[in-house]
Symmetry: C2
Subunit: 242 residues, 2 copies
């Protein structure tokens, strides 16, 4: 039955094309949130209110991208009725877009707080936050790369690296509290910086989620429930993340 | 062709049963996170460390529930290949579980902070947080009810009511900053209360997401992009939610 066979090859190959397109769309959305986070961080560090305002506006593009990926994924489910490995990839895609959209929201929130912060002058050195953001951005970039290449090793590396971000967050949290205690005039600005640090930490968590979903989509199995912890104190901090 | 006709009726009705089961599973998971939030709030207000510890443990049950709903939804997609309205309901279910899981995480985080708080004695009156949590719990309950009944009106009401929660959050945020400024010894405890208030506000947002998904699943259309705002000042607070 050569005709049937050709036909099924055709359908198969065309679904592969659709899956590749889905991955490309997600990688493109990932690129948008990477830019959003990088710009939000630059705006914070250089106190650039204009850039911060642009980041806040930019977030609508990320949301629109989420909706088109969702629509495409739903169309794939409806028209292709994928099963097994293919189905897993479409379901993972639907979940990844939710994480990326949240990352966009957190980056936009960093920009909104930057606009408020510019009215005051926090004594706290922003370099720590810049460093934390750099780690988060590296992790996010690796995650997005891992999606495009369905790269399990890269996904696993992201998942492990999140611990460093958590530890840096704990350090910054404590420093900010100290600054607030030393001079109550710092309280208002430092509170916004606390939430900015928390946003970065949450972005790191969502990047980890995406890495987990990438691993799941590629292998059909989940990464272990708990990430390996560096040592007991790190485990303690991570568990009671401030 | 009576046999085919009978067969397709059978398949249809059995898929309806599956969809009802899916909705019931989600409503049950919703019940779990409702309990988790109620207990976390009680633990906070009554300074009950034992209850707080139980809430932290309880969150694993919510996570397990998310995984079984996901597996059931994926099995439905694989074996039923639903389209149109049915497909929309399964996709919405997958997204709703993500929101409910996040609500569970936020409730567990309230409990974790309660454990830390019990080591100090914040001067801030917890009644405001109790009131905020009551509003959030009411909204969450309505959302869960709306899922079970596919009740569009209830879903829309939840979506509108979130503004009250946002306004209360802004008030609490400002009060907490004032407490911190008045006495630096309050800073550490009040920072945890700030994050607890933020967690409650985020739970409200996720309940709103669930309401939007319920509306979408039932109608195929989305609620408008922006919720109606009470007045200009409220819109300002909501936009730059502290």
């Amino acid at each position: 039955m050569p005709i049937v066979s050709d036909e099924s090859r055709h359908i198969l190959s065309s679904f592969e094309t659709d899956l590749t397109r889905l991955r490309d769309m997600i990688a493109a959305m990932g690129g948008l949130v990477e830019t959003e986070l990088a710009d939000a961080t630059t705006a914070l560090i250089t106190r650039d209110a204009e850039l911060a305002a642009r980041v806040v506006e930019f977030d609508a593009r990320v949301d629109a991208e989420e909706r088109s990926i969702e629509q495409f994924a739903i169309r794939l489910l409806a028209t292709r009725a994928p099963v097994a490995n293919d189905l897993r990839q479409v379901v993972a895609a639907l979940k990844v877009t939710t994480d990326l959209e949240r990352i966009g929201d957190y980056a936009a929130n960093v920009a909104k707080r930057t606009l408020v912060l510019n009215e005051s002058s926090p004594a706290y050195p922003l370099a720590s936050l810049a460093q934390m953001s750099r780690l988060v951005q590296e992790n996010l970039k690796s995650t997005i790369d891992a999606i495009g290449d369905a790269d399990i090793e890269k996904a696993t590396a992201v998942w492990r690296a999140d611990q460093m971000i958590d530890d840096l967050y704990t350090t910054i949290f404590r420093e900010l509290i100290t600054y607030m205690m030393e001079d109550p005039r710092n309280i208002s600005a430092c509170t916004h910086l606390l939430f900015i640090a928390k946003n970065l930490e949450r972005i790191g968590d969502h990047a980890t989620n995406v890495a987990e979903l990438t691993y799941y989509a590629a292998t059909g199995t989940s990464l272990p429930e708990n990430r390996p912890k560096g040592d007991l104190s790190a485990a303690y901090f991570a568990q009671s993340k401030p």
